[in-house]
């Protein structure tokens, strides 16, 4: 297919340097692969969101008027599987991370561009298998695949869904390897470890979890599938096994996976807040080390998912203690973001609104996590909506807010166009309000004993459930809004300058959108991250 650029229109960049569908499907350019991932996970996000909306509609009335209970089981299962493995895990690393990381390091590409493309194909294959299991009738085990429910009793296409997740795991592993090697070996001259933006540190930390945790999930799902297919195995007591072993292996992956979801969100927020406060990030080294501490200590806390499943009281105490410990580095980050804003020249642009929303919601999510780390309270609220509210504050209030904030922040770089600022602010506020209205009532519902994973509930819970469902519709509007105006701005938006936010990262020192190999001249770094003072003249900060 012929390349046709309008004469005198835009200069050559990664978007227009090659044309045709094959130039996208066979690309090894990290920026194009980031866009492929963005399209894929956006579609999956709205599919998973649709399941959530159906669940909220079901819970509008105590009897659950919309679907039968078996279908409801499938709805929350598919919502969980899609949102966790096919949206949240790849969300920020594979879209924003893929796009920004090499440029933030001054590199031409990731260390292994072909592996990067392969990871997208593997991801799509995994997603296709998981979606196929939905269309064949779904799965009703919950996203956790607990044995012996999943290996013996559950109906539906458990093995198919598990294989979908298993396959997509390899895309995580490839991404993790790629990011770690890129950060180690592809930094431009002068960019020492402690001059890297926190974005890179956080991506490094989450990549460590990718490579260390994902293989454990992979082999666990293989064992589940073998047990379900051949009726032999290691988890079912009928074969001499122990179902708790499954829970240990599953949460050994799935708890660190929570940090896969939130560390990249912290990466994004650590770029947005200094930019719109016009101040270097407060306590740079503390934030960098706390990213690593979260990745390491995060591997030692999985037992807090199993306090009521049967473990010795000493193990429970150790896991409870370690769960408190992992809150420390998270709190260090929250304090440092806040201290960065203190006496800063704050500009409440769309990304900043999302980032501030993130800090507040993540704090609520994290603090309620400490409630759950306390054994006594955990026993009281286990498997209630308190848990649901807690992890949605982290995953939706945290990760999704940061994902949207990051998308707005780097949109001028990605698309070369500015998004409409007013609509952006409107979406940030709508999402924030809708989110709180949806999930705050669930803390109360859970505390008073409303169980999760039931399609019906006691009548006295109805008021708060109606509020929650109303919030979910507002949240839905808040999510559709950016989808519409970002697509609109791709074609009709104002052309973006190279550095619209006048910020310090290397990715802003190249045209928007960037040329195919990112930089015309390989940059040399002679300053610390977020050093607005050193770049005062260059950034026209006056």
């Amino acid at each position: 297919m012929a390349t046709h650029t309008l004469p005198g229109a835009t200069t050559e960049n990664y978007l227009n340097s090659e044309d045709g569908i094959l130039s996208w499907l066979l690309t090894t350019d990290h920026k194009r692969i980031a866009l492929l991932y963005t399209f894929s996970i956006t579609a999956l996000f709205f599919l998973g969101g649709t399941f959530a909306l159906l669940m909220r509609l079901q819970l509008l009335t105590p009897d659950g008027a919309l679907v039968d209970l078996e279908t409801y089981n499938k709805l929350f299962t598919m919502h969980g599987i899609i949102m966790v493995w096919f949206f949240l895990i790849p969300s920020i690393p594979n879209t924003i991370g893929n796009f920004v990381l090499p440029m933030a390091l001054g590199a031409k590409d990731l260390a292994f561009p072909k592996l990067n493309l392969l990871s997208w194909y593997i991801f799509m294959l995994g997603a296709a298998v998981a979606l196929y299991s939905i269309f064949r009738g779904g799965v009703d085990t919950g996203w956790t695949f607990y044995t012996p429910l999943s290996t013996g009793y559950a109906m539906g296409y458990v093995v198919m869904a598990a294989i979908g997740v298993f396959i997509s795991g390899f895309s995580s592993i490839l991404t993790g390897i790629n990011f770690i090697v890129t950060i180690h070996r592809m930094r431009v001259p002068g960019l020492t470890w402690f001059r890297m933006p926190i974005f890179c540190w956080s991506m490094y930390a989450s990549s460590l979890i990718f490579v260390l945790a994902t293989p454990v999930l992979a082999i666990t799902l293989v064992l589940v599938s073998l047990e379900r297919i051949f009726h032999i195995g290691v988890f079912d007591p009928a074969y001499g096994g122990d179902p708790l072993l499954f829970q240990h292996l599953f949460w050994f992956y799935s708890h660190p996976a929570v940090y896969i979801m939130v560390l990249p969100a912290m990466a994004v927020v650590s770029e947005i807040i200094p930019t719109f406060s016009r101040k270097p990030l407060f306590g740079y080294k503390a934030v960098a080390y706390s990213s690593m501490a979260i990745a390491i200590v995060g591997f030692l806390v999985w037992g807090h998912h199993m306090f009521v499943a049967g473990m010795s009281v000493y193990a429970a105490m150790a896991f409870s203690f370690l769960s408190y410990m992992v809150a420390i580095p998270s709190a260090i980050k929250v304090f440092n973001w806040t201290a960065t804003m203190y006496k800063g020249s704050i500009e409440l642009s769309t990304p900043m609104l999302y980032a501030i929303g993130f800090v507040g919601l993540f704090t609520i999510g994290g603090m309620s996590g400490l409630f759950l780390a306390a054994i006594g309270i955990d026993v009281h609220v286990t498997d209630t909506y308190f848990v649901i509210a807690h992890f949605h504050y982290i995953m939706v209030g945290g990760s999704v807010m940061a994902f949207l904030g990051g998308m707005h922040f780097w949109w001028p770089k990605i698309s070369g166009k500015m998004y409409p600022e007013f609509l952006g602010k409107l979406s940030a506020i709508t999402v924030f309000l809708g989110f709180n209205l949806t999930f705050f009532p669930q803390f109360i519902l859970g505390y008073f004993g409303m169980n999760r994973r039931y399609g019906s509930y006691a009548p006295e819970f109805q008021d708060l459930n109606v509020l929650s469902t109303a919030g979910a519709t507002i949240l839905g509007v808040g999510y559709i809004l950016p989808l519409v105006y970002l697509i609109w701005s791709w074609k009709y938006g104002e052309p973006a300058p190279d550095n619209p936010w006048r910020t310090t990262g290397l990715e802003w020192k190249t045209p928007s959108p960037p040329p195919k190999h990112n930089f015309e001249v390989t940059p040399v770094v002679a300053w610390k991250a977020y050093d607005f003072e050193a770049q005062r003249e260059e950034l026209h900060l006056g």
Binding site: A107, K108, D109, L110, A111, F112, P113, I173, G176, I177, N178, I180, V181, T182, H184, R185, M186, V211, L212, A213, T214, P215, V216, A218, I219, T220, V222, L223, L226, F230, H231, I232, G233, V234, A238, Y239, G240, G241, D242, L245, L249, F252, H517, T522
Partner: protein, 214 residues
């Protein structure tokens, strides 16, 4: 320089950067493999702790001699792999023969391994396919055999991948491996040694605990 630029990918600035990146990538991949096997070793350790008698009984049913011979065979393959790497790094074409030899020894290992599998199958020791055991803890013995087939099976799959990779290396080897560029052979060698080390552990946990009960 011509040979170097032939092999230098566009995202790298220097051959050193490319070599170090590829090798680091392989090391991290090996870490992920260690975690993959690690989960099964953890399961084995747990059940061995709970059911020592049943696991010793299961272990006494192993073909100890074949396992020992196979261990020796695999260690030989590591030796030939190292020689291949040694000659490749010095640009000596005879490394090709050592690659071929390594692949052949790997196949010999798989041959012996699958003979063992077949013997266990004949003995009704394959879980899910008419497993029989006369001891009171037959379920736990079955668990032992399930772990045995899963873990050694996973190892065999890895070895098979290793053989394919070694054979695939023959193609670029014939084109442009020289003293400046032997990184792929070095990295596949890392993988091969890792798979061998896994086998040494598998041999130790499956074949040895019940050896005195024969």
């Amino acid at each position: 320089m011509a040979e170097q630029s032939l092999a230098l990918r566009e995202q790298f600035a220097t051959p050193e950067q490319q070599r170090e990146s590829a090798t680091l990538g392989m090391w991290i991949f090996i870490v992920t493999e260690a975690m993959l096997f690690g989960a099964t070793f953890a399961a084995f350790a747990g059940y061995h702790h709970w059911y020592p008698a049943a696991f010793n009984r299961g272990s006494s049913e192993m073909e100890l001699t074949m396992g020992a011979v196979n261990t020796a065979v695999l260690i030989c393959s590591s030796f030939t792999m190292s020689l291949a790497e040694y000659f490749a790094a010095r640009g000596k074409p005879r490394f090709v023969w050592f690659l071929v030899l390594t692949a052949l020894i790997g196949m010999l290992f798989l041959g012996i391994k699958f003979t063992e599998y077949y013997m266990h199958y004949k003995d009704h020791k394959l879980p899910g396919f008419g497993f029989q055991d006369s001891s009171p803890q037959s379920r736990q013995v079955q668990l032992f055999f399930f772990l045995y087939f899963v873990m050694t099976g996973l190892h065999s799959v890895h070895l098979l991948i290793g053989i394919v990779l070694v054979l695939l290396m023959l193609i670029p080897a014939l084109i442009y491996i020289d003293e400046n560029y032997s990184t792929p052979i070095h990295n596949i060698s890392l993988y091969w040694h890792f798979v061998d080390v896994i086998w040494v552990f598998l041999y130790a946990i499956f074949y040895l605990p019940g050896a005195h009960l024969k």
